[in-house]
């Protein structure tokens, strides 16, 4: 009803999470204000800090958008991590092995192929769900581990570059996404991610498939009876979800690392799930939520250096944010779904 009240309410919940976090610090015997200050300075205080924050925000913005798109069609794609890794791997290979292309073309092609990899990797669980009824939570989770170990195998053995580290060769420089805030690692992947947030927003609110995906997600039976092909749109949403996750993985490789490094993702795909809930399953909400999470990651490291507060604190705040913002929303959302089921 009073829509204007909604944003401050979320901000309030985030504030509450910080407050609780500081309370934890106080109890643990650290100076809370100093730590908080260090955290903010480490996240936004300098050009470097800002670059770090946004660099950290980039992959989780992609993965949160990916999760959101599936979720809106009623699909619980918790295997975003797997599609992210496959996308990263394919983009790395395209960067390494495709030769003779010049900069924007090569980079964009590699990025696109990464997305395609993620999309195809999402197509399996989509088809398994739609035609065999295999629940996507199980299949996507398992496929995530398959992706993790398979890529790890490749960079440890057949594709390993000489040296101590399990990683591939560097991609061609024509495939790199340029840095946009030197000397930080922030790359073109960030504005691309923001662009995707708006694209997803436009897609969901302004297009026929977006409309159909939302309809299918909210009431598949009514959609079916109104002539909307439910399976087709679930597969589409799943595949688009995988595509965005794949682009995210590609962006991380081509923008930050320049090569596929074993274990480069600390679980960006999993973070995306939480971030997309904190962003209220709204594409533009995801921008704010992912910057918040990026800030906690980047600022947390600085805080640890300056105040000796363990890094865990920023993880605690992250958890509190999830608890205060995402959990109540998620529970209400699920409650709504269940209530609807029972009414059937």
């Amino acid at each position: 009803m009073k829509r204007g009240l909604r944003l401050p309410l979320e901000v309030f919940a985030v504030g509450l999470a910080f407050l609780f976090g500081m309370l934890v610090l106080l109890v643990a015997g650290y100076p809370p204000l100093q730590a908080l200050f260090a955290l903010f300075r480490g996240a936004f205080g300098t050009r470097n800090a800002l670059g770090q924050t946004l660099t950290q925000a980039t992959p989780i913005l992609f993965t949160s958008l990916a999760f959101l798109l599936g979720f809106r069609s009623g699909i619980f794609n918790i295997g975003v991590e797997g599609q992210f890794l496959v996308g990263a791997f394919v983009a790395a290979l395209s960067g390494i092995f495709i030769r003779g292309l010049s900069f924007p073309v090569h980079a964009l092609l590699a990025l696109f192929l990464g997305g395609l990899g993620g999309a195809i990797y999402a197509l399996f669980p989509a088809l398994l769900k739609v035609y065999l009824g295999a629940h996507e939570v199980i299949t996507t989770m398992m496929l995530s581990y398959v992706a993790l170990y398979l890529t790890s195998y490749f960079v440890n053995y057949p594709l390993k570059a000489p040296g101590w580290v399990a990683q591939t060769e560097l991609v061609a420089s024509s495939a790199r996404l340029p840095r946009i805030l030197p000397p930080t690692q922030l790359s073109l992947a960030f504005p691309i991610a923001i662009g995707f947030a708006f694209l997803v927003f436009w897609f969901l609110e302004r297009t026929v498939p977006g409309f159909s995906i939302k309809a299918v997600g909210m009431n598949p039976e009514a959609s079916e009876s109104r002539g909307i092909p439910v399976r087709k749109y679930q597969v589409l949403a799943f595949v688009l979800s995988g595509f965005i996750a794949g682009i995210g993985g590609g962006g991380e490789i081509l923008g930050v690392h320049g090569r596929f490094v074993d274990g480069f993702s600390p679980g960006y795909g999993w973070d995306g799930i939480a971030v997309s809930l904190v962003g209220r399953l709204h594409p533009l909400g995801c921008i704010f939520a992912s910057v918040l999470f990026g800030m906690l990651r980047a600022g947390g490291m600085v805080m640890t250096r300056v105040t000796k507060v363990p890094l865990d604190l920023s993880l605690i705040i992250q958890a509190l944010v999830i608890l205060f913002v995402a959990a109540p929303f998620f529970i209400r959302y699920l409650g709504g779904l269940l209530r609807r089921r029972r009414m059937l």
Partner: protein, 508 residues
């Protein structure tokens, strides 16, 4: 003797005056009907009496003495019991456990089971209930659950029972049972306040009736002085027509043909259904619910594959066409369960109005973009045309009353001049004004030369609107009757007794 008297009771919620200086007298041993359209304030009034809400002003007298009821505990102590619109039982406890819940006679800390069962047996003897006490609530049909709810209230010693729209969730048979139960309780000397917006039930049961409209009391009448016309006018505030004058409409050619359609479970299997529907006619399908009507509709709109037989529309075989193709051909569907099949509750009005048409120009422009301007102006036009009461087209459908939700469905289904309208229980759960409005829409569709297939469990509705009536029983069409045929004949067919062998049971 006046058991319960209410004087000048007022209850506000913000700007809404839900009850505006209500006076009410309920005599001992009577069944007093409380009648009113949805939102008239019936539930609020009974909740005030039961202590769930505190009235802003007004007084309540019990047996001539003023009482101050501040909670349901007070009400129960004073002998007032309430059965809510939504049943409030614990599904995984047994019948007797639910009956005694919160009032268990104890021996030490243990429930004195023997005494409980003895007490309930005694209650059964007094009130004539017969139930298996050890059955789990979850396994019981709604009608029986409601009996448990009534028993629970009686067990707590209620002399005055308030039942808030008890029939809303019941099948016709269960309604009959409930009415019989209430008559029995009245014979025991209980005083009953029976809330409803259905005239028929009020006439069948009540001694006197009080009508509320928009929070105000319109009046109280002995039932002998009331007619459906009078009560409906009191409820709605203007004359309501129960007779639907059917003009003669020239019937056109055959539009829809079913030939020996049969289906497999799940659901009631259809067994060789054949019939024709012509343009300009309303064909009624009567029958007790659960005799294959839902399955028949699913076959017609493309949600269920038949096992055998054919469906022809305008001479074209559509047996295996998708729902979308059928919509495009001009088959419209007002589903029985609108929350499940008809609308998306979390979508806005405009999204629901365009649902299923979003792929067609002018709502789509270019390859995939929605033409929001065209859609919104279409929605606004439909809201005006169908008198849907909403602030604007952006509010979620969930916030609308049942009648307005149904209008959204019908507005959408009739938007593009379909040639066949399949209408299932189109007025179920709607109040008098919305019911009248929708029935008139069906007649208007017929007048325009459309065919209407009307499936309804409400025999009065079927007979008032249809040109011909088919009766369904256990997945078969067991006969055709003219709507003027008497109720007894319908009853026989609906009970599965064949036409030619009336009186001889043709089925188990």
């Amino acid at each position: 003797m006046i058991a319960l008297a209410v004087r000048g009771l007022t209850k506000r919620f913000g700007d809404i005056v839900a009850n505006d200086h209500i006076d009410l007298d309920v005599a001992q041993g009577e069944i007093h009907g409380l009648l009113g359209e949805n939102g008239a304030g019936k539930s609020v009034l009974s909740s005030c009496i039961y202590g769930l809400y505190r009235p802003d002003s007004g007084r309540i007298f019990l047996w001539g003495k003023e009482v101050h009821i501040t909670s349901p505990f007070d009400a129960i102590r004073l002998g007032i019991g309430m059965v809510h619109q939504h049943l409030m039982l614990v599904p995984h406890l047994s019948v007797w456990e639910n009956i005694v819940l919160g009032r268990e006679p104890r021996r030490g800390i243990q429930v004195d089971r023997k005494k409980v069962l003895r007490d309930i047996e005694k209650l059964f003897e007094e009130t004539g209930f017969q139930l298996d006490l050890s059955e789990e609530i979850a396994n019981l049909p709604v009608g029986v659950r409601q009996q448990v709810e009534i028993l629970k209230v009686l067990f707590r010693g209620a002399d005055i029972l308030i039942l808030d729209e008890p029939t809303a969730v019941l099948t016709p048979q269960e309604v009959d049972q409930l009415l019989a139960t209430l008559r029995r309780l009245k014979a025991q000397g209980k005083t009953i306040i029976f809330i409803s917006h259905k005239l028929k039930e009020v006439f069948a049961l009540c001694d006197r009736v009080t009508v509320l409209r928009r929070g105000k009391k319109v009046g109280t009448l002995p039932i002998g002085e009331a007619t459906p016309e009078i009560l409906a006018e009191m409820m709605v505030g203007r004359r309501v027509f129960f007779e639907f004058p059917k003009e003669r409409v020239e019937k056109g050619g055959v539009l829809l043909t079913l030939r020996e359609v049969s289906t497999n479970p799940p659901g009631v299997p259809l067994k060789g259904i054949s019939f024709d529907v012509r343009s300009g006619e309303i064909l009624g399908i009567a029958g007790v619910e659960g005799n294959g009507q839902s399955e028949l509709v699913e076959v017609l709109v493309g949600l269920r594959r038949p096992k055998g037989g054919a469906v022809l529309f305008q001479g074209k075989d559509i047996t295996h066409s998708s729902p979308k193709e059928r919509i495009r051909l001009g088959i419209a569907h007002v589903p029985e369960d609108r929350h499940r099949l008809g609308v998306i509750l979390d979508f806005s009005i405009w999204e629901n109005l365009v649902l299923g048409f979003e792929t067609e120009p002018p709502f789509r422009k270019g390859w995939i973009t929605l033409n929001l301007q065209a859609i919104r102006s279409f929605a606004r036009q439909k809201i005006r045309e169908f008198e849907i009461t909403v602030p604007h087209e952006n509010v979620p459908l969930r916030t609308l009353s049942g009648g307005n939700q149904q209008k959204v469905v019908v507005a959408r289904e009739l938007a593009f001049e379909p040639s066949l309208l399949v209408a299932c229980q189109p007025t179920r759960g709607l109040d008098v004004a919305a019911t009248e409005y929708l029935r008139n829409l069906l007649l208007a569709a017929r007048r325009k030369g459309k065919a209407v297939l009307l499936i309804s469990a409400d025999l009065d509705e079927i007979r008032a609107l249809s040109d011909r009536v088919l009766v369904m029983y256990e997945g078969k069409i067991v006969g055709e009757l003219a709507p003027e045929s008497d109720e007894y004949q319908f009853g026989l067919l609906m009970g599965g007794k064949g036409f030619d062998e009336a009186g001889v049971a043709s089925s188990s």
